[in-house]
């Protein structure tokens, strides 16, 4: 029996070693940057990491983000958003910042704060914390329905997201979820490959559980907006709203928060097997908003 078990163990070890080698050589898994909680309690990436995703190389800048990092320009723009702005799945040339800069010209400086899973309140916190360093004249915050809902811990507590309890008006502390396990998985590529391909999912029952229950959260969303208006300065903020709902759209208008609503009509804006924009989608969105940005800068400089 001992010999039997030993042979199985050796066989699995050899198979694991070879699969690890093959996965690395063939780049079958994407690399994801490791995260940290910065001194002010916000989640960023650990600086100066490098890797590849969909065969595109990425690098984390000194601020802990993947995108453009111009600061203190005369025409400084700050762009904040979730995975759409982080855009790890496309080359950096397809980022919103790169597209806007290409259209507006090099006299504009762009600083991108993109991180997957960012919430609305987290975007505003980043704006508050980074504005003294970046000095933006205009801040673009890309917003979707999820970013709003995930800001409210009363709807669903997500420990790895910055959230606010709209009843107590207190910001909930962020923790990194399973940091050691994630580190282990990212380093052990064959296990990571197995994980991302759903190999660990047991197939007894497939439950289509959505993130949120179909309850009406509108009163909570309204409370969130009231709190945000009390605590943040929106004078130079332009919301770019995508994948939203009517209630949030109306709320932005009612509170006179400047916004552009992006309506999607074309499926070739999106990546295959992924709900994110591809390079065409990014270009189209940036084309839709640059005129407004340009006008804002003209008004600002006047």
């Amino acid at each position: 029996m001992n010999n039997f078990i030993l042979k199985i163990f050796l066989y699995l070890l050899a198979t694991l070693f070879i699969s690890e080698f093959l996965i690395r050589i063939m780049k079958l898994t994407n690399e994801v940057p490791h995260r940290k909680i910065n001194p002010i309690g916000l989640q960023t990436y650990i600086s100066n990491q490098q890797g590849y995703f969909n065969n595109n190389n990425w690098k984390v800048n000194d601020f802990g983000f993947l995108g453009l990092s111009d600061i203190n320009s005369e025409n400084q723009l700050m762009i904040i958003g979730d995975s759409f702005i982080e855009n790890i799945m496309n080359p950096i040339e397809c980022n919103q910042g790169s597209n806007i800069k290409r259209i507006l010209g090099d006299k504009y400086g762009v600083f991108e704060v993109g991180r997957s899973g960012i919430t609305m309140i987290e975007s505003l916190e980043f704006m508050k914390q980074l504005s003294p360093k970046v000095n933006p004249k205009l801040v673009l915050i890309y917003l979707s329905e999820n970013d709003v809902l995930e800001s409210i811990s009363n709807i669903k507590r997500l420990k790895d997201r910055l959230q606010i309890n709209v009843r107590t008006k207190k910001i909930e502390k962020v923790i990194l979820k399973y940091p050691l396990l994630k580190k282990f998985l990212y380093e052990f590529k064959s296990l990571y490959y197995f994980y991302i391909k759903g190999g660990f999912v047991l197939k007894m029952k497939h439950e289509n559980s959505s993130n949120y229950e179909e309850t009406n959260n509108n009163h909570l969303i309204k409370s969130l907006f009231s709190i945000l208006l009390e605590n943040y300065d929106f004078s130079n903020v332009l919301f770019i709203v995508h994948s939203s709902n009517k209630f949030i759209d109306n709320l932005l208008d009612d509170y006179k928060l400047e916004n552009i609503k992006i309506k999607f009509s074309n499926s070739n804006w999106f990546m295959e097997n992924d709900s994110h924009w591809n390079c065409i989608g990014h270009r189209k969105v940036s084309e839709l908003i640059t005129e407004t940005i340009q006008n804002k800068f003209i008004n600002y400089n006047l």
């Binding site: 029996m1 010999n3 039997f4 042979k7 199985i8 066989y11 050899a14 198979t15 070879i18 699969s19 093959l22 490959y193 197995f194 391909k197 759903g198 190999g199 660990f200 999912v201 047991l202 197939k203 007894m204």
Partner: protein
């Protein structure tokens, strides 16, 4: 629970550890573990139908114990018929009830009486029912025939009926083979364990890599056969021949291999059937546990070949028709059985059906002779024609497909990459054609390990990247 799933691997590892490391000293505990494990394995799919297995187990256990107690032949026969009627009744109700009703309605409609279908029921076919009912029936029949002494140990008997490796798709075990093994103390045997793991690996490869890769192409061609030319349909039918072989023999290999690591030896179910040189040999190599079941419990009961030529031919027809019907409540299966009986009867008349009882094609040679190649090719050709009936959704589709295959010959319109997989399979099968239990047992250690790792990685890659199909024989 599917063999080709991660949950089965976890389940198998857990039961293996408990079986050999925790309950090793106690046979009763080991058998209880097999029983609980088997019920858990079945319940993972649908716990409601466990009651059917349990009922069948209790009934045959009680009947088995009572048959020898009666000295009167009539009473013994009555008990036997109780078991047969119950098992066939359950099988008939769940599997054939709707078919009978619909066939009657169709018949009445044909002669001009319009009948509305209010009698059909929305029944779910309990998985594995065709297999375990035959297994328990074999027990009572063998006890009645005095080939086997009934067991008093209920746990062991229940473990025999529900033994998880072969519960849902065979091999259909005889009580004379499996029950004594359940009742006897088992010792771990290294050679048997290694052989078992090799069979599991090879079975998984056949199922996940070959059968599941061919399945989408086959499904597309059979579903939209009207859109394809003869060449593509030929390719689809050949792919199906190998899909069903790899699917079912893959399952059997995993079942036999899994049993081996627990110290059991199951009946062989496949012995490289596509290397058969005539139809008689094919039926000795394809789904062996079912064909021998019908031979021993039905053909011989009907008189076998003892009552003259006419009676023998009648019995052969019956066996093939019942065998076809066993696969499902559809006329296509009955035609498949009928087609095979027509293929078989000439060899019965010319006494060639018992040819090649012991030998294999290419015996003691690396390559087969031209004569053998022709024989194997023509047998495969005929069997493949039969698969058209088996795979089609109805008889009209079968006829349309056959017409296209022979009347609209064009070169295939789809990629024939599946042929590389088939070639790979045939090479491996040919190398180990002498003993189906010794697959992958290459003499060179390095080569053996390289092949083990290659197979494992291919399985993992296909499992993670392509859709995983249920085993075809689960529906029977």
């Amino acid at each position: 629970m599917l063999f080709n799933s991660i949950e089965f691997l976890l389940f198998l590892a857990t039961v293996f550890i408990l079986y050999w490391f925790v309950f090793n000293k106690n046979l009763k505990c080991q058998n209880l573990l097999i029983l609980i494990g088997s019920y858990f394995f079945y319940a993972w799919w649908d716990y409601r139908f466990l009651s059917l297995i349990f009922l069948s187990t209790i009934l045959d256990y009680v009947i088995g114990l009572n048959i020898p107690k009666h000295t009167s032949q009539r009473k013994q026969k009555l008990l036997l018929w109780c078991s047969i009627l119950f098992n066939l009744g359950v099988l008939g109700f769940f599997k054939y009830y709707n078919f009978f009703i619909e066939s009657w309605i169709d018949l009445f409609n044909l002669i001009g009486y319009e009948i509305k279908s209010v009698w059909t029921l929305n029944l779910i076919l309990p998985i594995g029912i065709s297999f375990y009912t035959f297994q328990t029936m074999s027990y009572t029949i063998d006890v009645y025939r005095k080939k086997l002494k009934p067991t008093k140990d209920f746990i062991s008997f229940a473990a025999f009926v529900s033994f998880f490796p072969q519960l849902v798709a065979g091999p259909i075990e005889r009580a004379t083979n499996l029950l004594p093994q359940v009742l006897k103390k088992r010792e771990f045997n290294y050679k048997q364990g290694v052989q078992g793991l090799r069979l599991i690996l090879w079975g998984m490869f056949k199922k996940i890599v070959i059968a599941d890769s061919l399945a989408p192409i086959v499904n597309e061609i059979f579903k939209n056969h009207q859109d394809f030319g003869g060449g593509t349909i030929w390719l689809g039918v050949i792919y199906f021949a190998f899909q069903i072989y790899c699917d079912f023999s893959g399952y059997s290999d995993i079942a036999i291999g899994t049993s081996k690591i627990f110290g059991f030896e199951l009946t062989s179910n496949f012995k490289f059937p596509y290397f058969s040189r005539n139809i008689g040999e094919f039926w000795r190599r394809w789904h062996i546990s079912l064909s021998t079941w019908f031979r021993d419990y039905l053909y011989i009961l009907l008189g076998g070949s003892k009552g003259g030529r006419f009676k023998s031919v009648r019995n052969i027809f019956i066996i093939f028709l019942v065998s076809g019907y066993w696969h499902g409540a559809n006329w296509t299966f009955i035609f498949w059985g009928l087609f095979h009986s027509i293929l078989f009867i000439p060899s019965f008349f010319f006494n060639t059906n018992r040819k090649y009882l012991r030998s294999v094609a290419g015996e003691n040679r690396i390559f087969p002779s031209f004569r053998e190649l022709f024989q194997m090719g023509s047998t495969f050709f005929l069997v493949t024609i039969g698969w058209v009936f088996f795979r089609s959704s109805d008889l009209i589709s079968s006829m349309n497909i056959l017409t296209k295959m022979f009347m609209e010959l064009k070169s295939p319109e789809i990629k024939s990459t599946g042929l590389y997989l088939i070639a790979f399979l045939l090479i491996f099968d040919w190398i180990f054609k002498h003993n189906e239990r010794e697959v992958l047992n290459f003499k060179n250690t390095l080569l053996r390990w390289v092949i083990y790792i290659f197979l494992f990685l291919s399985i993992a890659y296909n499992y993670l990247n392509y859709s995983i199909e249920e085993f075809i024989y689960f529906q029977f």
